[in-house]
């Protein structure tokens, strides 16, 4: 039901919005939602922070870019390679990394993100270095190229919808409970029979694959990628989306991604002070809604409803 409404909203958006710039903005929101969604499974549900997920975003983008530009592969061939490669890399990274906890895990993943960025920049023969890779082919279905903004919008949001369903199903299952159990008390989770290290590695891989998918869609949308799209600040941005939108909330990922994409657009009126206002908004949200927008708004709704009910119960 929820997803029917969601699909309806996507359809209406795609049909009504004709302005190509707005369409592109909406498509970016979709890509960022995928990023936030994957990271939310790791951070919000399992409680394991990662400050290096931009590297997986980049790995997905660069894998498909290198395969299509240098080797002339079809993007649909490079997609599974990009996802599989990211899964393998993230698995190898996760094995030693997820033995760390809290701040140390943050530092460890931060280091990994740096390595990714330096590789994208430094391995110039393959990645094009600072000047990036140009001429990534757009996606096509059969003989039809998905060059129109509307078509790409639908493709991205289709992926987001699938991502939502996948995450919602995991969250509502034995695995979702295990993730939250790890978040609440790793010791108790272990004592209840939850294989904490293995599940943490699995969810790390899952979130990395989501990032790689987002990277794939990003690369074929903008057709040009450079290392600066995958630097440390992008990792921070992803974490911010999850926290602002709401940890352990699937819809919070959508909200966080939307806010962080749209806010800079709305704030153009502040010209030179744009970034200051941006920072201020984030601060205010965190101070007044420390659990993120989703939970905060829902709590406010609950409160006002119970107040309304009380007033009518005893006049």
């Amino acid at each position: 039901m929820k997803f029917l409404l969601f699909a309806g909203a996507i359809l209406v958006g795609g049909v009504l919005v004709k302005n190509p710039y707005h369409l592109q903005l909406l498509t970016f929101i979709g890509i960022y939602t995928l990023l936030a969604l994957g990271l939310n499974m790791l951070m919000g549900y399992a409680g394991q922070i990662s400050l290096g997920h931009a590297a997986f975003f980049g790995l997905g983008a660069y894998t498909t870019a290198v395969l299509t530009v240098h080797y002339g592969w079809s993007p649909w061939m490079s997609l599974p390679v990009a996802l599989l490669l990211t899964a393998c890399v993230s698995f190898l990274v996760a094995l030693p990394m997820l033995k760390l906890h809290g701040f140390y895990l943050g530092m460890g993943t931060l280091g990994f993100g740096m390595i990714g960025y330096i590789l994208f920049r430094g391995w110039a023969r393959v990645t094009g270095g600072d000047s990036g890779l140009v001429g990534i082919p757009p996606l096509s279905v059969g003989s039809m190229e998905l060059t129109s903004k509307t078509a790409y919008y639908f493709l991205v949001w289709f992926c987001v919808t699938v991502g939502f369903i996948v995450c919602e199903r995991i969250v509502g299952s034995r695995m979702g409970r295990a993730l939250r159990a790890i978040h609440d008390s790793e010791q108790a989770a272990g004592a209840m029979g939850v294989d904490t290290s293995r599940i943490k590695v699995n969810v790390f891989v899952l979130s990395a694959v989501f990032s790689a998918l987002a990277g794939f869609l990003y690369a074929h949308m903008v057709t040009f990628i450079s290392p600066s799209s995958f630097d440390f600040l992008v990792s921070v941005r992803m974490v911010t989306m999850v926290v602002i939108g709401g940890m352990a909330s699937i819809w919070g990922s959508l909200l966080g991604a939307s806010l962080l994409t749209l806010l800079p657009e709305w704030l153009h009126v502040f010209v030179d002070y744009e970034m200051m206002v941006y920072g201020l908004v984030l601060m205010v949200v965190m101070i007044f809604l420390p659990q993120g927008l989703t939970r905060g708004l829902m709590d406010a709704y609950e409160r006002s409803r119970s107040r309304y009910r009380n007033r009518h119960a005893n006049p």
Binding site: S173, M175, R177, A178, A181, M192, G193, D195
Partner: protein, 264 residues
């Protein structure tokens, strides 16, 4: 029948601790501890603070690896296994300072307890095939039964942290029972309970034993321990001081000296 030795017909111990030692740096927390726990009994471990009771629990449940000795559960050495693997074998525990999953409802806590009895992994969850739904439905039915068993079915949907402390202890027991354990380790289940709740706890523990579940408990409340235990092991400064029925332990000179001081 499986609990009985084929030749003699004598009950085989479900848990055997053989010469277990554990030290932390210079502190010898456990020194050459040996004892046996018979199936479907309540076996208490008592001793003054720092006697090594919780260390013993952590060794049995895989949190610590003993420096020496063997822990045999159901005929199989389990020392050095990971906690989750030991839990999956049917040894569940509760914690001294209630460790519930605070972000989850009462029912969900019990469902996590059932983790090792379910099979659905990531792919199963994504596919949501009929067997996954069936497994989930059965798990919920079973969890509700357990909540009824401990008297918490009315609050199944509430956040676990909203429960009064005493109820949280009962919830922890229900959660541990979720995995259908054969052996349950309860770390000070009565601490923080009022006399009425302690009485209820005693009745509940006897009911659990009657279901064929073996209980190993650490407890400071002597009226409870003496009232329900079949056997009692007394630890003192990491060593085994005495073992026997409640009556034997109560009249043991060494135990009286350790608890009440020599002047008595």
């Amino acid at each position: 029948m499986s609990d009985l030795d084929h030749d003699t017909g004598i009950a085989m111990p479900i848990l055997e601790v053989r010469g277990v030692s554990k030290s932390f740096g210079g502190l010898q927390a456990l020194f050459d501890i040996s004892f046996e726990v018979l199936p479907a009994t309540i076996h208490a471990v008592i001793g003054p603070n720092g006697a090594g009771k919780t260390t013993l629990f952590n060794a049995v449940t895989g949190v610590y690896v003993p420096d020496a000795g063997e822990i045999v559960y159901d005929g199989e050495a389990i020392q050095g296994r990971k906690p989750h693997a030991i839990a999956a074998k049917g040894i569940m525990r509760t914690f001294q300072n209630v460790e519930l999953f605070g972000s989850m409802s009462v029912l969900e806590n019990v469902l996590v307890g059932r983790h090792s009895r379910m099979r659905c992994g990531f792919w199963g969850a994504i596919g949501r095939l009929p067997w996954v739904r069936r497994e989930e439905r059965e798990a919920r039915d079973r969890a509700m039964e357990l909540l009824q068993f401990v008297g918490l079915e009315q609050v199944a949907g509430q956040p676990s942290t909203d429960l009064p402390f005493g109820w949280q202890r009962f919830l922890e027991i229900a959660r541990a029972m979720g995995a259908e354990p054969r052996l349950m380790l309860l770390d000070e289940p009565a601490s923080g309970l009022n006399p009425v709740e302690t009485q209820r706890l005693g009745d509940l523990l006897l009911k659990i034993r009657d279901r064929g579940i073996t209980l190993l408990l650490v407890e400071h409340d002597m009226s409870l321990t003496m009232g329900i235990s079949d056997r009692i092991l007394v630890l003192h400064q990491g060593r085994r001081l005495a073992e026997g029925t409640p009556r034997e332990v109560q009249s043991n000179e060494a135990v009286i000296a350790a608890y009440l001081g020599k002047e008595r």
